[in-house]
């Protein structure tokens, strides 16, 4: 009976649409078995959260402070620092020499003057040589230009193959052929500065 009544109600409803805002009147399609109780959200104590945040902040601040402190402090250069032992033993280590006589001082001063003059002359002759070489090159380029403009343009191009250049300078004694230099001890020392 009840079913019938329901059906009759349905038919009635189809003709006269009922407007309702409650969910009960709607047709449920979701199988009820799929439902799951909602996970309970963990509620943290706001005080603890605040504490954590503070801790993180403090840590960062500390790091920044340390960096700033180190920025002012320069990396030590070992070669430039006088060893403490040398400072302590300075009196012991200074040579006990007789002071130079006036004659010695005089000869030294004279020799230094002579040396300065000698070096000056050397420099002047160097500049003269450079001038001579440049003159010679300019003359050659001018003559080349008179013959052919194209060849001249080729000649004044830069030679990119020249760089990078490695030059092994003159040494005191010539290298020994097939000489294998004995290996010394290698002490690897890399200090970390942060």
């Amino acid at each position: 009976m009840a079913l019938r009544a329901a059906f009759s109600k349905l038919t009635l409803q189809s003709s006269v649409r009922q407007i309702s805002s409650t969910s009960i009147s709607r047709l449920q399609v979701t199988p009820i078995l799929c439902a799951e109780p909602l996970k309970k959200k963990k509620k943290l104590d706001p005080q603890i959260i605040k504490q954590r945040e503070d801790r993180r902040k403090k840590k960062l601040e500390k790091q920044i402070r340390r960096l700033e402190k180190n920025a002012r402090q320069l990396k030590p250069i070992e070669e430039l620092e006088i060893p403490l032992t040398l400072l302590d033993e300075k009196d012991k280590r200074t040579r006990k020499l007789l002071p130079l006589s006036d004659k010695d001082l005089e000869t030294r001063a004279l020799l230094t003057k002579k040396w300065a003059k000698y070096k000056h002359q050397q420099k002047v002759s160097d500049f003269q040589t450079i001038d001579r070489l440049l003159q010679s090159q300019n003359k050659a380029l001018d003559e080349l230009r008179k013959e052919s403009e194209e060849l001249y343009q080729e000649a004044i191009q830069q030679d990119m193959a020249l760089l990078p250049v490695t030059i092994k300078g003159p040494v005191a004694t010539p290298p020994i052929k097939n000489y294998v230099s004995p290996d010394g001890d290698y002490i690897h020392e890399n200090k970390k500065w942060d």
């Binding site: 040398l86 010679s136 050659a140 080729e154 000649a155 030679d159 020994i176």
Partner: protein, 271 residues
């Protein structure tokens, strides 16, 4: 300043000569063309740079000694010197009998003097290479292993008009070649491929021109030679290609070429 002088020169030159004067390194092309026909030649100055440093002359040696003395006076005593002093004091005490000699200790102990002797012995046993070589003694001029203190320049002997002449390797430029390419090719052709050289840039470093004798002149009046500078790294001239060649120092080179225009134009760019 150099530029200024050049531009000033151009200003004061009368107009009819204006096309003769050129401003170096300017990109503007030159209108005036030589009417005479010249052959273009490329030539290479191959130099072997010094291997050992120059010996000191009198003033250099004297000044070096002074510098060493001053440095010694300003220096502090080293650990080794201190140890040596202590050793001396100790031996003095032992001699006077104020200190007992510890036999076990003294046998194993090395004095500073002992160490110094050992070091000097080691240095003495090492044989340094000599600054003058065997080729110096025999005056073997076609070797690059001589006159280590000086720059050596390569000259080859060539027959010009049935006459053997010593000159820098030289040859004509072919069509389509730049002067630099011509110079590289000429060096390969005259001296072989074993010569390892580096050319210093694309620009010639020197110039020389000569006119042909009137009876052999054909289409061209003479030859213009452009010199390129190159430095030697290794290898030597291929003896199968160049029969006679020499590596000469500057004085020897000047002597070989004697007084001539050729020699003069080469001396302008020798170091």
């Amino acid at each position: 300043m150099y530029r200024k002088i050049v531009t000033n020169l151009v200003k004061f030159v009368p107009k009819r000569d204006a096309n003769v004067i050129m401003r170096p390194m300017s990109a503007k092309s030159v209108e005036s063309k030589s009417i005479e026909n010249w052959d273009l030649y490329a030539s290479v100055l191959v130099e072997r740079l010094p291997i050992v440093s120059k010996s000191f002359n009198a003033i250099e040696r004297e000044f070096q000694e002074q510098l060493w003395r001053v440095e010694f006076e300003n220096s502090l005593q080293s650990d080794h010197e201190l140890k040596h002093q202590q050793d001396l004091i100790q031996s003095e005490l032992i001699k006077k009998g104020k200190m007992e000699v510890d036999l076990d200790d003294s046998a194993s102990k090395q004095t500073a003097q002992d160490l110094k002797d050992a070091y000097s012995e080691e240095l003495k046993s090492f044989q340094f290479a000599l600054r003058s070589t065997a080729d110096d003694a025999t005056n073997k001029t076609n070797s690059t292993n001589r006159c280590l203190e000086d720059t050596l320049y390569l000259v080859v002997e060539e027959s010009l008009s049935k006459q053997a002449v010593k000159m820098l390797p030289q040859g004509p430029r072919l069509d389509g070649e730049t002067m630099r390419q011509a110079a590289e090719r000429v060096l390969r052709e005259k001296c072989g491929t074993q010569l390892e050289v580096t050319f210093y840039g694309n620009a010639p470093c020197g110039f020389y021109k000569y006119k042909y004798p009137k009876e052999v002149r054909k289409s061209s009046v003479g030859a213009k030679v452009f010199f390129y500078r190159a430095s030697l790294h290794g290898g030597n001239v291929d003896t199968a290609i160049a029969k006679k060649f020499e590596w000469l120092t500057r004085p020897a080179l000047e002597e070989q070429l004697q007084k001539s225009e050729y020699s003069e134009s080469i001396q302008k760019f020798l170091l």
